[in-house]
C-alpha cells in the first residue's frame, strides 16, 4: 500500500499532517512533495506519525527537512504518536532530542500553541 499524507486544519492555526504507511525509500518519495508543500506554508505543524508502520533513513529525511524549513520561518513542529520501533529510529538518529515527540494529543497541541 502506498504511503498516504492527509492534512487537517485545527483551531489556533495548527496544521495536522497525518502520515500513514511505510516510510521507506518508496514511501518517502511518495509523500515528499506534498510534505514539503505543507511545510512551506504551515507555521505550527503537528506531524502525526501514529499510522507510520516503518521508518528508515530516507523517511527521517522527510521529517527533518520540513522541520528545518518551518524553524527557519520562526514556526514550530512537533511529532505525535510514533509506535515504539519508529520512536527508536527517531531517537537512534538523535532526532528525538531536536524535534519534540508527544504521545498525548493535548500536550502536542499545547506545545504548538505555547
Amino acid at each position: 500500500m502506498a504511503m498516504k499524507a492527509t492534512i487537517e486544519e485545527i483551531d489556533g492555526g495548527i496544521t495536522r499532517l497525518v502520515l500513514d504507511g511505510r516510510m521507506d525509500i518508496e514511501g518517502a518519495q511518495a509523500v515528499d512533495l506534498r510534505v514539503n508543500v505543507i511545510a512551506g506554508s504551515a507555521d505550527k505543524l503537528l506531524m502525526d506519525l501514529s499510522g507510520v508502520t516503518f521508518l528508515g533513513s530516507m523517511g527521517l529525511r522527510s521529517i527533518v527537512l520540513p522541520a528545518q524549513a518551518i524553524k527557519r520561518r520562526g514556526g514550530k513542529m512537533v511529532l505525535y504518536g510514533p509506535i515504539p520501533m519508529v520512536e527508536d529510529v527517531l531517537k537512534g538518529a538523535s532526532i528525538g532530542s531536536i524535534i519534540p515527540i508527544h504521545h498525548d494529543l493535548d500536550s502536542a497541541l499545547a506545545a504548538l500553541r505555547g
Binding site: 511505510r22 521507506d24 525509500i25 518508496e26 516503518f54 521508518l55 528508515g56 533513513s57 530516507m58 527521517l60 529525511r61 527533518v64 527537512l65 522541520a67 528545518q68 524553524k71 527557519r72 515504539p84 520501533m85 527508536d88 529510529v89 537512534g92 538518529a93 538523535s94 532526532i95 532530542s97 531536536i98 524535534i99
Partner: protein, 145 residues
Amino acid sequence: MSDKPACPVPTQLRLESRMEDLALVHPWVEALAEYHAIPPPTVFAINLCLEEALANVVRHGYKDTAGSAMTVAFETHGERELSFVVEDSAPHFDPTVAPMETPAVPLEEMKIGGNGILLMRKFAGSVKWEPLEHGNRLRIGFVLP
C-alpha cells in the same frame, strides 16, 4: 523441526543496483518472517538494516548506476539466530568502521543523510564486513528474543 515442511520462500533475493529494486525486499522479509515466526520488532529491525545496507550499496558502492547485481541471502543458525548476507561487486567499503555516535546538534545544523549506517549498526545484533576479490560481503545478524 523435522516435521516442518521445507521453507516455501526462496532464501536468496537477487536485485539490480537501483533504488526501485529495494521495494522487493520487505515483502520477501515478511514472507520469511511469517514462515519462521520472527517477531514484529525483529522484522522491523531487519527491514531497516537491509534498506540502509542496500541503499548504501546502490548510492555509494555503485554510484547510482544501474546494471550491476547485489544479492541478499537468508541464513538461520540454530533456533534463535539468523542473518542476512548482502553481497555486491562494488569497490571495497567497510561500513562497520564509520563513526558510531551522532553528536546532538541543533535542528538547523542537522545534516541530512548519513544516518543510515549508524541506524543499521544500532538495530542489528551484529554487522560483519568481509572484502571479496571483487566486491563486499556484509553479514547482518539478529538474535530472536
